[in-house]
């Protein structure tokens, strides 16, 4: 292994881990408020297709990303209306969102499959990007990757030292107690879900506008689900999410590494790696029952109705 290869692997690792990081941060906020939204995949796909179509027709990447975020938010509000507004089962509603989003995105994107666009280009920061090994990884990425660093910092700070972060945590741990303290339980949950939706939309937009600048049906390929596992893996902590996201990024580009080194391994077996790694990691984290119970937000997935 020469130094160029390692530099490029590190670069690709961050790039591949970025959509996972963004979705997982959004889902983290959502889950800490006690809402389990399994619709990540559907929201991402809607973000991806809307962002792609907007950029293709207007030529503006900026507008594409903005509307990708809006699309993700709108999808999450559909979830919120049913799961929060009507107290429906969150697991089933999230699944419905994924199925619906997969269908809707494939439907509106059908005419655009295979159309190429000019995607978001990386911006190398002078001098810093020349640092050996990590320079390219940290300072020669595109704007969304830099933005994801900022979003990570924001979410980290949000839970560590902001008042609103504390409210979100209180609502997720025990909404009844939070309610009697006068905290706005439902409003907090709606906002947390909307944030999660916006992040999923952004991550989807990243896939179709930067990572592989094209639209393909189901192009998220389970990343929304991996992100859900990532939150469990990170025991609901932002600092571990960034670590996990890049770890999975690495697992996903393993095929490139192996091919780069010239080993003849089936691409189909290598494509399995991120999913297998997810299962492995889930098993490792969850097997300590006491610990995983301690970290899981107490009210996660349970509907809250002030009168019940």
């Amino acid at each position: 292994m020469d130094i160029d290869l390692i530099t490029n692997v590190l670069y690709a690792m961050v790039r591949t881990g970025t959509p996972l990081l963004i979705v997982a941060l959004g889902e983290l906020v959502c889950e800490r408020s006690g809402v389990l939204n399994l619709g990540q995949e559907g929201m991402m796909l809607m973000g991806a297709v809307v962002g792609f179509i907007v950029t293709l027709t207007t030529g503006s990447l900026m507008l594409g990303f903005m509307l990708a975020i809006v699309a993700g938010m709108l999808m999450s509000m559909l979830f919120a209306a049913i799961a929060l507004g009507l107290n429906a089962n969150q697991v089933a509603t999230g699944l419905a969102l994924t199925i619906f989003g997969t269908g809707l995105s494939a439907f509106i994107g059908a005419a655009y499959v295979g159309t190429p666009i000019v995607g978001l280009e990386p911006i190398a920061i002078p001098y810093l990007s020349d640092i050996p090994l990590i320079g390219k990884m940290l300072f020669a990425q595109d704007l969304v990757v830099y933005l994801s660093f900022g979003l990570f910092g924001l979410v980290y700070w949000f839970f560590k030292s902001s008042r609103l972060g504390l409210t979100v945590k209180a609502v997720g741990e025990n909404p009844h107690a939070a309610n009697s303290l006068g905290l706005p339980v439902m409003r907090t949950r709606y906002l947390a879900v909307a944030f999660g939706g916006g992040m999923a939309g952004l991550a989807g937009g990243y896939l179709s506008l930067a990572y592989t600048p094209l639209w393909a049906e189901n192009m998220t390929a389970g990343r929304g689900w991996i992100a859900l596992a990532l939150v469990v893996f990170a025991t609901w902590r932002a600092d571990r999410i960034i670590f996990g996201a890049y770890l999975f990024g690495l697992a996903s580009i393993l095929n490139l590494v192996v091919q780069g080194l010239g080993y003849p391994v089936s691409p189909n077996l290598l494509a399995m790696m991120p999913y297998a790694a997810t299962v492995l990691v889930l098993v490792m984290i969850s097997s300590n029952v006491m610990k995983s119970k301690m970290y899981t937000p107490m009210w996660l997935g349970k509907p809250f109705h002030p009168h019940s």
């Binding site: 399994l38 559907g42 559909l78 049913i82 009507l86 107290n87 429906a88 089962n89 697991v91 089933a92 509603t93 699944l95 419905a96 969102l97 199925i99 619906f100 989003g101 997969t102 269908g103 809707l104 995105s105 494939a106 439907f107 059908a110 049906e217 390929a221 389970g222 689900w225 991996i226 859900l228 596992a229 469990v232 089936s266 189909n268 077996l269 494509a271 399995m272 999913y275 297998a276 997810t278 299962v279 889930l282 098993v283 969850s286 097997s287 029952v289 995983s292 109705h305 009168h307 019940s308």
Partner: protein, 362 residues
């Protein structure tokens, strides 16, 4: 005046039966609006979607061809869901069933025995059952959330299937296409109705529905499953073996999905190809909910879901719409169902602002 949700003292039985019908109706109306929005005559479009596919005997046969795997997966999922085991992995279990069934069928190419077909189907059940058992084991032994593991197993199963269909199962005389050789006649499911593709798979599905119905309503294991789902602490106190129950429901639900997969490769497809299921395993989740986890409900819901698949195919041809219209309708149906289900446990109250009312009275 504003609307408020008020909990009912007791879940409404009639509402739990009405809700799927209401959801179906709402989907129909939304579908009509959706077609009109796209510039089609809504009535004509809905006729193409829901009636035209089953206007003749061939269409009815196709309906059964589609309904069989959906019903098998959904009735299995119902068992798991009843026990509050969230098996989202019917798709992967179906694929593993199809894969293992193909492995056996390819060994039996020239065997002309009555036993070839049962062997193929049983290995399908084995493949799906073991794939389900793996998730059960990870949950009971390592406490790993089965929603996430079964989803991951869906992807892993897909890539395993692709690995074999591009690799050792590929037909050497197939000009490099990723597909196995056509199975021998003795490994194929016989046709039930002449001039259609309807095969005996639908009979297996109906049999499974009846067997599961009897199991859930009449057997001790069915009772244990229901108690586990309603109150896991009560199940523990009663001394039911929790781990074994989770394993049993996952094996049942995986084996039935595996049978569905075997029925696809040994039925309408007749060989192993990269895509043996257009998401039957995911559609089955909707069917299980729509059918209220009840065998009779699941029978009707499977037929409806099969019709949506056929309608989507016909709409693609006649209305020039993308095939994704199928999953769009599926998602819509589940959304409406979940929304309507609210009225099982809650009633809507329209009340005038309370304060002003009290003030007026005093």
């Amino acid at each position: 005046m504003f609307i408020k949700l008020e909990p009912r003292g007791e879940a409404s039985r009639s509402m739990s039966y009405l809700s799927p019908l209401l959801a179906g109706l709402l989907t129909l109306v939304s579908g009509g609006i959706f077609f009109a929005f796209l510039g089609h005559d809504p009535i004509e479009a809905l006729r193409i979607f829901l009636i035209a596919p089953v206007e003749d005997l061939y269409g009815f046969g196709e309906l059964c061809v589609k309904a069989a795997p959906i019903m098998l997966c959904a009735i299995g999922l119902a068992v798991a869901f009843k026990a509050q085991v969230w098996n989202i992995g019917a798709e992967g279990q179906l694929l593993m069933g199809g894969l293992l069934a193909s492995a056996v069928a390819l060994q039996l190419m020239d065997v002309e025995s009555f036993w070839a077909l049962p062997l193929v189907l049983l290995s399908g059940m084995l493949g799906g059952g073991l794939w389900g058992l793996l998730a059960a084991w990870l949950r009971t032994r390592f406490n790993a959330n089965e929603i996430l593991t079964t989803i991951m197993f869906n992807y892993i199963a897909l890539y395993l299937l692709l690995y074999f269909v591009h690799g050792s199962f590929k037909d050497p005389d197939g000009y490099g296409f990723p597909a196995s050789a056509m199975f021998g006649d003795s490994s194929l499911l016989p046709i039930l109705l002449e001039d259609t593709r309807m095969h005996i798979g639908i009979l297996f599905a109906l049999l499974a529905v009846v067997v599961i119905w009897v199991m859930l309503s009449r057997s001790f294991i069915g009772f244990q499953i229901k108690v586990l789902g309603l109150d896991s602490n009560a199940a523990k106190l009663a001394g039911f073996k929790h781990k074994r129950l989770v394993a049993v429901v996952m094996i049942i639900s995986g084996a039935l999905a595996g049978l569905a997969g075997a029925g696809e490769v040994a039925g309408p497809i007749g060989q192993l190809i990269p895509s043996i299921s257009p998401g039957y395993g995911y559609a089955a989740i909707i069917v299980a909910f729509l059918g209220r986890l009840h065998p009779v409900g699941i029978f009707f819901a499977s037929m409806l879901m099969a019709l949506i698949y056929l309608g989507g195919e016909l709409a693609q041809i006649e209305l020039n719409l993308p095939l994704a219209v199928t999953s769009l309708f599926q998602g819509m149906l589940l959304f409406y169902l979940l929304a309507c289900d609210v009225f099982i446990n809650f009633k809507i109250k329209f009340n005038r602002p309370q304060i002003s009312a009290t003030l007026e009275n005093s």
